[in-house]
């Protein structure tokens, strides 16, 4: 396992460059218990933690897209029941059955999309992916598709359902690292458009829209224009009708190569 980058100067950068969860372990929980736990959580824990698992005034988010020290059922249960020594986290007086529901809710907050049985028709979602939404132009799934965007073969095991929905509907404030669109003019007046795989003061590596790698040194570059926005459209809730959108989510949430 690679370590996640520790330092992020801006919260916004962190979000954009956030490493994917590697999704090796399956999180199991009962959705009915989780729903009950959600209610208990909002009623009992939000003095410190935020509503719906968000960060609160006195305690951290429980459903953030990061790795948690306490990830197993036993560990979370222990933290609720006995508190966490040396912190403000108190021991909870809730009955055992409620704590079990809370644990299910916390698991659900951290679950990746494949852990949920996302409703919709995945087969139709694949057609949407290939045709109407045109995702395959840039994204590869199981060896088929474009290469400018990230490979999505395991996206359901790496992202939460909320994150998938967000990626399809909310424009990213800045393009993620490795996917910054740019146009380069070289000293001999050739232009290359594509996405920046890596760059430094001395050199520049760009994957062109021609799907070829172009490797340049600084002295070969006359001008670089960075496009402020990611190439990823974020209006799929408008372009697709609700059924198509849900089918697309159902399809993407089931792309979980690492779980096979």
């Amino acid at each position: 396992m690679r370590k996640a980058p520790i330092l992020c100067v801006l919260a916004i950068t962190c979000l954009a460059q956030q490493p994917r969860q590697r999704g090796g372990r399956r999180v199991r929980f009962d959705p009915v218990e989780a729903a009950a736990g959600h209610e208990i959580y909002n009623r009992s824990c939000t003095m410190c933690h935020g509503l719906d698992g968000a960060p609160g005034d006195r305690a951290p988010a429980l459903g953030a897209q990061r790795r948690y020290l306490r990830a197993t059922t036993e560990d979370i249960q222990d933290a609720i029941k006995n508190g966490i020594k040396g912190t403000n986290m108190p021991a909870s007086p809730l009955p055992e059955a409620d704590i079990k529901k809370l644990v299910a809710y916390i698991h659900s907050l951290r679950a990746t999309a494949v852990d949920l049985d996302v409703p919709g028709n995945p087969a139709k979602g694949e057609q949407v992916f290939q045709a109407k939404a045109n995702c395959a132009k840039c994204h590869m799934v199981n060896g088929r598709g474009g290469i400018l965007g990230p490979d999505l073969s395991n996206i359901g095991a790496e992202r939460s359902l909320a994150a998938l929905r967000e990626a399809l509907t909310i424009p990213k404030p800045i393009p993620p690292r490795g996917y910054q669109p740019a146009k380069v003019t070289t000293t001999n007046n050739q232009t290359i458009e594509g996405i920046v795989k890596n760059q430094h003061n001395t050199s520049f590596q760009i994957l062109g829209a021609d799907e070829k790698l172009h490797l340049l040194t600084a002295d070969q570059i006359k001008e670089i224009t960075f496009h402020p926005k990611s190439l990823m459209p974020a209006d799929f809730d408008k372009v697709l009708n609700p059924t198509e959108f849900q089918d697309l989510l159902a399809y993407l949430s089931r792309q979980a190569r690492s779980r096979r």
């Binding site: 070289t186 994957l207 490797l215």
Partner: protein, 521 residues
Amino acid sequence: MRPILAALLAIAAHAQVTYNDLLKPDPANWLHYSGQYHSQRHSPLQQVTTANVKKLTPQWIYHVDAGRRLETVPLVVDGVMYFTNPNEVYALDARTGREIWRYERQPALQKGPNRGAAVYGNRVYIGTPDAHLVALDARNGSLLWESKIAEAKEGYWSPAAPMVVKDKVIMGIAPSDHGLNGFLDAYDANTGERLWRWHAIPRPGEPNHDTWAGDSWKTGGGGTWLTGSYDPELNLLYWGTGNPAPDFDGDVRKGDNLYTECIVALDADTGKMKWYFQTTPWDVHDWDAVEIPVLVDANYKGSPRKLLVQGNRNGFYYVLDRVTGEFLHGTPFIKELNWASGLTAKGRPIRVEGVIPSLKGTKTCPATSGATNWMSPAYNPATGWFYIVAQEGCGINTKSRDTFRPGGNSYMGTGYIESPEEPWQMYIRALDLTTGKIQWEYKQINSRRYAAGLLSTAGGLIFGGDDQGFLTALDAKTGKALWSFNTGQQISAQPMTYAIDGKQYVAIANGSNVVAFALHD
């Protein structure tokens, strides 16, 4: 004028690798584990020469976070470098060492090493610790397909770099030390479908099955854990096979134990064996014969021959006719060899009585680590010499009765230690191609264990490295060291060379890094 030329060349971007490219690689590229199909590891690049090699300086160093003892040989395709760590592939800008993409296999079975990749079309191929053949998109590292080679839970894994021949990916398997039978496979380069499998241990009813006593063939070994060579004209693959199992206890597997310890010639289209030559029949010293078979067309005793030469772990240098497998010549390339008094006219070793593992230990020279090992040799057509990494020294070999336990458990029948009387010592030696006579040797002072293999260049240089981390350039004619650089970590990989915009680089993996050198501007 160079910047303009450079710009023009750089814009001519990374292209697909064709079979024609694999047959006749552009010298600026390094497309095979051993440079070319013939595995001579000789590059026509000659910007770096005996006269200017003193000006060789590091250009960049790439650090692999999880890297420990990298054994990878980087490949370079039009300025993009691909190298491996177990479960990982890295694509770098070979001019600057800047990362373009990386692939990390998940979940990753922790087992090493991995010795490198193969390239073809827009794809990069690797073997994995969980015994899969994996194809990635060379442009962004996307996983295209994976094919299971064998059951990892049985103990199989795939450390060797694959080789692409026509539309096939040729892939071997490890190990032999667990009593697992070896084979060599061909997979469709486009789909990953397995096309043929050659079994290293003949099954009942097949020729030479009777070279195994009783049921010993079932746990016979014969891994194919290093990359072989290929002759496109003969359409033959040449591969070395590993030791029989249990490694040190030959009593339970009487017979020659074919086709362990062999060089085999297989039809590349069908996997059918055309010939075999066994270097160590009934091996009891774990001397895998997987060392790179080097293909050279040269005069032998006055007539042109298609030769195959190999410096074998058992201490002998072999010269074969690679059309027929006929043994032509063999001679030791180490001085301390006590297990055989010579070779017969057919190339079979004349064993010295009693030099077999025993309960209290038997002095055996070379040691089990071998007179050489996975370190690649090189051949320079200008000198006509074969260059090899040699280890002088003996081992104390012991045996005991072992029980085969499935599931990847070691089945070696005990082992060896370094002889306290003859500490190991590493050398780089130049051998005459056809006689094997030592032309010069370079002693790697204070180096006792294997490190880098060799690279020959048209600049008249032999590059090698040692276990203390030094990469050294020798004069191919004299063996004199002309340049040396302390990379700071033990080297366990093979050097390679490439060029970008007319500038020659020499690169090698050392410890957890890959470092590239070029002449100081």
